[in-house]
Symmetry: C2
DNA sequence: GCAGAGATTTGATCTGGATCAAATATCGAG
DNA sequence: CTCGATATTTGATCCAGATCAAATCTCTGC
């Protein structure tokens, strides 16, 4: 399985903020030990509590970060291409706080954690890029926490739909890109309740047909959802 | 109010992980524009949405990081000496995601954000220390999120008490170091419910007398609380 | 195309925690 | 030390969301 990365993958990774500005030879150091693997859906990639062996980069597909305690399970985030995950554990050489599993067929690049830490010590541009990335991750987590603590499940769904609509181009009708069971877990509710929550948004012009969502009047829905960039804008 | 920092404060700050390894002259650059201010309790220091003017370092007292949306408010974290807060916003030059207010009389050092960013660009040891700090902050937030999503309020209180007991030396009897109203906010419940939650822990040997808590048998309480380092150990 | 497994929806009920109201305790200022 | 303000506790009730049960629906592999 271990082999040199295809040149195209090499280029895709190099374009990530995290690797864009680093010295070429350092980047080559990272790529030397890296490899790419394809995974079927529903494969557990990492388990919380283990120590970090590889920095993961998702090239295609989607990955669920989740966590369990006392037989309960919750979904913490969904990772999409092209981005890294579990960077903090890799850098601190600390145990994973979350587990990861593929949601769909996924292509993932793996870079040995010790290589990442070695290059981090040697390459200042890389160290700075990691700062930017971690600050971003931190802020995303703060936003998620606010979403959860300040909003009801109906409000979380409404804001999620508004974000999703923008992300998929802004058309009135768009597709959910994962199954409702998983959406429920992400929003911190049960599938049954998600189903009812969709009904609860009908008065605000939300129509559901399978995976297809139509928001008749985003203004109307936003009046209820009260989106706020300090919670919903995941880019800053 | 603006003036050179007292030498003792200078030393205290220099000892923080964040500043320990940086070049002396860069540290001096940071201290040049810095100043210290004393605040009475219940003073709002920063408001979410504003852009970051200063990196804050709490020298004594305690500060509540909180957030509001749609007339609701929640407490996100409590900051204690000696540590920094709102580092991520400062580094990214992005709006604060949380507001901050003093809980008690507090002494706080302020370093202009632009100085922090300038030194960050120039000093590699500082950049690396920021990585470690941000990774830590990120992981703390993940733990808080897990605590909230995976546990009931009774379980959160039980684990909080066990952590607090260890932190205050491990004696069976110890003091809460903030008022219950605030503890309720931190644990994500109402004061009324906190009061009932304390009652609910009586069967596990928790006795409450004002601010004084006695845990008769930590083993017994832990049997209920099921503490887990991946949630409760805030040091890794 | 069809069977069967899994996903989603619907209905009924239960429960943790919030809210409202009021009593009691605590603390700081004078 | 006492008053008044604020914090905490207690009781009653309410509500969001979970759980349990069962009825569809929708894929996927054959």
């Amino acid at each position: 399985m271990r082999m040199g990365l295809p040149e195209s993958v090499h280029r895709d990774i190099r374009e990530l903020h995290l690797f864009r500005d680093m010295v070429e030879s350092h980047f080559a150091d990272l790529m030397r030990g890296a490899y790419v693997q394809n995974f079927p859906p529903q494969i557990q990639l990492i388990s919380e509590g283990e120590t970090s062996d590889f920095l993961h980069i998702i090239l295609s597909g989607s990955v669920d970060l989740f966590s369990t305690w006392n037989k309960r399970e919750t979904s913490m985030a969904t990772v999409r291409p092209i981005s890294t995950f579990i960077l903090a554990a890799t850098i601190r050489d600390a145990p994973y706080l979350m587990s990861a599993r593929t949601l769909t067929k996924s292509r993932i690049a793996l870079i040995p954690s010790q290589d990442v830490r070695a290059v981090f010590d040697a390459d200042n541009a890389f160290a700075r890029a990691i700062v930017a990335e971690l600050a971003q991750c931190y802020r995303s987590m703060v936003k998620a926490q606010k979403d959860l603590k300040l909003r009801t499940s109906l409000e979380r769904l409404a804001n999620f739909l508004l974000r999703q609509q923008i992300q998929s181009g802004g058309a009135a009708t768009f597709e959910l890109d994962f199954e409702k069971r998983h959406l429920a877990a992400v929003l911190g509710m049960t599938p049954e309740n998600l189903s009812r929550a969709f009904k609860g948004l009908q008065p605000y012009g939300v129509e559901v047909d399978g995976m297809q969502i139509t928001i008749a009047d985003p203004k109307d829905l936003a009046g209820f959802a009260k989106p706020n960039p300090l919670i919903d804008d995941h880019s800053t």
